[in-house]
Structure formats: structure tokens, C-alpha cells
Amino acid sequence: MGPLIVNEIISENTNLFLAFIIGIGFGFVLESNGFSSSRRLAGMFYGYDTTVLKVFFTAAIVGAIGLLFLSLFNWIDLSSIYINPTYLWSTLGGGVIMGAGFIMGGYCPGTSFCAASIGKIDALAFIGGMFIGILIFTEGYPLWEGFYNAKFMGSPVISDMIGASRGFLTFLVILAALGMFWVGEWAEKKFAREDYKLNQK
């Protein structure tokens, strides 16, 4: 029963190798969905292109259903899955910074590397900015240490907080996602831009 690495079914090195393969797959999917275009990513904010929402929500709900079915068949132990611990304030702060960078730069960290790999200069500038951010964060760590560690909540999951089963919550998320896809495609028509064609090469 999985997960593989926790139960020492595969070694640390095999795990890294699999991560490498999965990473390539992730990059491939990002690129083939046009995520190396900053206009496409920024379009999520302005509403003229909601591909980001569709791709990531599809991935999330497929992943959620997959995990729950694997758990149902006893192939994976969900309690051994690592859930990022929540530090409420730094999560919110990080979300705001990331979101602002996303809109202004037209990339998020992963897609900037994707775009840099096909030779986009703006992506290189974005990556440079990212490293400057990392430098500021690490060198100034004592300044925001309190904020960074504030409101530690462990690893809460929404289904426990509202007292629903994981399956039921997943079902709700699926409905919400499909609803959002519909709204997204409506927005694409509503906020369409003359100089931007969906799925352009």
C-alpha cells in the first residue's frame, strides 16, 4: 500500500528519478497548454483567457478523485500523504505577493522556467526577480520571522472543518469547478480582446 516512498517500497533515489520524470511531464503539459505565454496567464486576471483556471482545476479534481479511489481500493494510505502545514498569515501574505507578481509579470514560478526554456527574455527577467525576492526574504528573515511563523494551524483539511466526508467535498468541488469553467468561457467571450486570439500559436 502506498505512498511508495513513505513505506520504503522505493528508495529515495528512485523517488528523485520519478520526480524528474513527472517534472518533465509537468513542464510538457504546461508548455503544450500555452502556459509559456505571459498573455495567456495574465488573461486569467483580465478574463479574456481562462485556460489557467481550466487546466489547474481539471488537474485538481482528477487528482482528488484519483486519490480517493486509490484509497477506496486500499492502494494508498491517505493519512501518510504529506499535507503542507498551514501558517495562516504567511499563507495569505504569500498568496497576495504571488498573485500580484502573477498579474504584473505574467508568469508564476513554474511557467517562468517553462517560458525561459523556449527562450523568452521576459521570463528570464521574471526569474531574476524571483531570485532577488529569495535574497530579500532570506537576508531579511529576522524581520519577518514572526509573521512567517504566526498562526500555525497544523494541516487542517476543509472536509474536517465543515464535518463533511472527503468524498462529498470532492463532489462539491467538481460541481464548483464545472460551474467555474462555464463562467470562465462566458468571460472569455465577454472580455475578448481584438488583438488576442484564444489558442493562438
Partner: protein, 208 residues
């Protein structure tokens, strides 16, 4: 349009199924004697004083020190931020929420390693997670963190760095229950090794 229809017709029924079936809660709650022996042999429950000192100094909110010695010993001396759960009370329902949880990293300590390790074995046998043992207990802590031995000048750099760290930690923790932050950041001379948390669950770097 068509893609969304295909997606909807696949995912909605699957979602309905998963919403309807009861959650799979079958998991090995208690460890078998063999499994426990394996864990004892591998000794993964032990944390070195340096690791714990780092966490104490950096005020890591995930750390919970638990003193399993008797209350009077706890009164006399305790590590910063520790709570007292004497070994005899380890099964008391009052403490169950503290010991059986998935939020913090509990570190048991006693004078030596023994009592703390017993506390760990009891809780581990019950299937509780996130409980650890401070290697060597208070005695070894006093030896390494409070009064670190100066390594010979011919020692390799790592030894000196370790000593610097311990000296800094000892100064910061100062034997008193209160930590003084400025000393902690000034000491160590940039030689602080990163905090090594023992995590059973592997961290994945995610996001887009």
C-alpha cells in the same frame, strides 16, 4: 464545449460514487510488536540536542517539548517552553489530545533517555505519531548545549561550527526558561546548519 461535456459526464458520476461510498478508514492503528521492534532498531525517534536547540531558538511553533519527569523535578529545571506530563500520567485522558495529534512535533525528554523513550514506546504502540525523544535527555543537553566542550584547535571546521552553534545556543537559552533573541541571532557566526526536522511524510515542492 464538447470537452466540457465529456469532462462533466465522466467526473460527475465518479464524484457521486466517491461521495456516496463511506471513507476508507482501515489503517493499522496499533503497531504490531514486529513493527515496533523495527522502529526501535532504526532509532528514528531520537532527536539530537542540537536539532532541538535550533528549533527552540528559532521559536519553531511546531515544536512541543514534553517533560516526562516528576513535577518537582520539572519545577527545578525545565527546557524552555516545555510542558510537564509525568511518565505515570502519560495515559491520562487529560493529555490524550496533546500526545495524539497531527499538528505539532512532540519531543519527550527526561533526565536520561530511558523514561522519555518509554513514553515514546507507549504512545507509539498506540499508533500515535509525531512523538520524538530528546537523545540523552536533560543531562546530555546540559553537557552539550549549556556547557559545550571546546574542541581542540586542530579540529575540522565542522567541529568548530558545531561548538559555535552550541555555545550560541547555550548563551541564548541561558539556563533560564526565557530565551533572549538578540544573542541567538548574533552567535553562531553564520555557521548554523539548517534545522533538520525529521519528517516521516515527504515534503513535495508543488505549485505551478
Amino acid at each position: 464545449m464538447k470537452a466540457r461535456l465529456i469532462l462533466a459526464t465522466t467526473l460527475i458520476p465518479l464524484g457521486l460514487i466517491i461521495a456516496a461510498v463511506p471513507e476508507n478508514t482501515t489503517k493499522p492503528y496499533k503497531l504490531t510488536a514486529d513493527q515496533l521492534l523495527e522502529e526501535v532498531k532504526s532509532g528514528t525517534q531520537f532527536l539530537q540536542p542540537d536539532e532541538v536547540a535550533e528549533m527552540v531558538i528559532s521559536k519553531d511553533p511546531t515544536l512541543q517539548l514534553i517533560d516526562v519527569r516528576a513535577a518537582d523535578e520539572f519545577e527545578k529545571f525545565s527546557l524552555p517552553g516545555a510542558i510537564n506530563i509525568p511518565l505515570v500520567d502519560i495515559l491520562s485522558p487529560e493529555w490524550e489530545e496533546t500526545i495524539n495529534q497531527d499538528v505539532k512535533m512532540n519531543v519527550f525528554y527526561s533526565n536520561g533517555t530511558n523514561d522519555a523513550n518509554q513514553a515514546w514506546m507507549i504512545t507509539r504502540q498506540l499508533g500515535y505519531q509525531n512523538n520524538y525523544v530528546l537523545q540523552g535527555g536533560v543531562n546530555y543537553w546540559a553537557e552539550t548545549i549549556m556547557n559545550p566542550e571546546v574542541p581542540p584547535t586542530t579540529s575540522p571546521n565542522e567541529e568548530m561550527a558545531k561548538y559555535d552553534l552550541r555555545k550560541g545556543a547555550g548563551m541564548a537559552l541561558g539556563g533560564a526558561a526565557e530565551t533572549t533573541q538578540p544573542v541567538a541571532t548574533a552567535a553562531g557566526g553564520g555557521a548554523k546548519p539548517p534545522i533538520q526536522k525529521k519528517e516521516k511524510k515527504k515534503k513535495v515542492a508543488g505549485g505551478c
